[in-house]
């Protein structure tokens, strides 16, 4: 009778161990799955960051190049203005040189 009882309990304990072992296996799968997902998240976030960084880079440089172009275009206009204004004083400047050189 006692042997029978021990046998039954032993069977139940084996079953219990199986339940725990199954849970441990499942837990390992959950963690492995999470690690995989984490790696996927990391890859996606970094890939998005690279795309965003390229966009930021392009935006900043496009703005800078446009501004640089404006500076160069403005200077062409400034030079035209400078030449026009200087032309008005040009004869006087030539006269100044001549007067100084000839002493007249």
């Amino acid at each position: 009778m006692a042997n029978k009882l021990i046998e039954i309990i032993s069977e139940v304990e084996t079953k219990a161990k199986e339940i725990i072992s199954e849970a441990e296996k499942k837990a390992e799968e959950i963690i492995n799955q999470a690690k995989k997902e984490a790696e996927n998240i990391r890859e996606k976030v970094l890939k998005d960051a690279e795309i965003e960084a390229e966009k930021v880079w392009k935006d900043i440089l496009t703005r800078a190049e446009a501004e640089a172009k404006k500076i160069v275009e403005k200077v062409e206009k400034d030079i035209e203005k400078l030449r026009t204004e200087a032309r008005e004083q040009f004869d006087e400047a030539v006269k100044l040189i001549m007067d100084t050189i000839t002493g007249v």
């Binding site: 009882l5 304990e13 837990a27 984490a38 900043i60 800078a64 500076i71 000839t102």
Partner: protein, 205 residues
């Protein structure tokens, strides 16, 4: 008896199930932690990537703008330099014409007088460009030099001629002292000062 055995079985199995649930719950918790940490770290890394790229782009943008500003400044300077050079070139052309004008005589006399005063008078000779066709009143100039320097002065035209677009060289007869008042020499001596004055005149604003 059977009931008691079943009860024991139930307790052992329930305990095992409880432990199993606990293991799964901990695993889920751990999984959540892994995902949260991964997301946080990735976000941090992403922010660093974007910030670094932004900083690099801003540095590059500063270089582009600096170069544009420098190019603009150089263009302005070149344009100014070109206008100043044009003024000098025009003046030189006009100086060549000037040596054929009626004012040239007065200019030559002034240049001779200035040179003679610098030498402090004495016996002086005047060297003129070849083909100079001007009737100079040297005795009048000598008198004016004497008045200025207090030294008896004589001036004569040298047989030696010079290659110049205009002006004069005055030297003592012993050739110890010479003042080069040709237009070219004066231009050379006065160029820097003239450049400043011409620039001030041309680019008032």
């Amino acid at each position: 008896m059977n009931e008691r055995v079943e009860k024991i079985e139930e307790i052992i199995i329930n305990e095992a199930k409880g432990k199993a649930e606990n293991i799964i719950a901990k695993a889920k918790e751990e999984a959540k932690k892994i995902l949260d940490e991964a997301e946080q770290e990735a976000k941090k890394e992403a922010e660093e990537i974007i910030n670094k790229k932004k900083a690099d782009a801003e540095a590059q943008a500063r270089r582009i703008l600096s170069e544009a500003k420098l190019e603009a400044r150089l263009k302005i300077l070149n344009a100014k330099e070109q206008l100043i050079s044009e003024a000098f070139d025009t003046a030189i052309e006009k100086l060549k014409e000037f040596s054929q004008s009626t004012q040239y005589k007065t200019a030559l006399e002034n240049l001779i007088k200035d040179a003679a005063i610098i030498i402090r008078g004495g016996d002086l000779e005047v060297l003129l460009p070849e083909n100079t066709n001007v009737n100079l009143d040297l005795s009048k100039i000598a008198k004016e030099v004497e008045n200025q320097t207090g030294v008896k002065t004589s001036l004569s035209i040298s047989n030696e001629t010079i290659r110049s677009i205009g002006g004069v060289i005055v030297r003592s007869k012993d050739q110890f002292l010479t003042v080069d008042n040709t237009f070219e020499a004066r231009l050379e001596r006065l160029r820097e000062q003239l450049r400043v004055n011409v620039a001030n005149l041309l680019f008032k604003t």
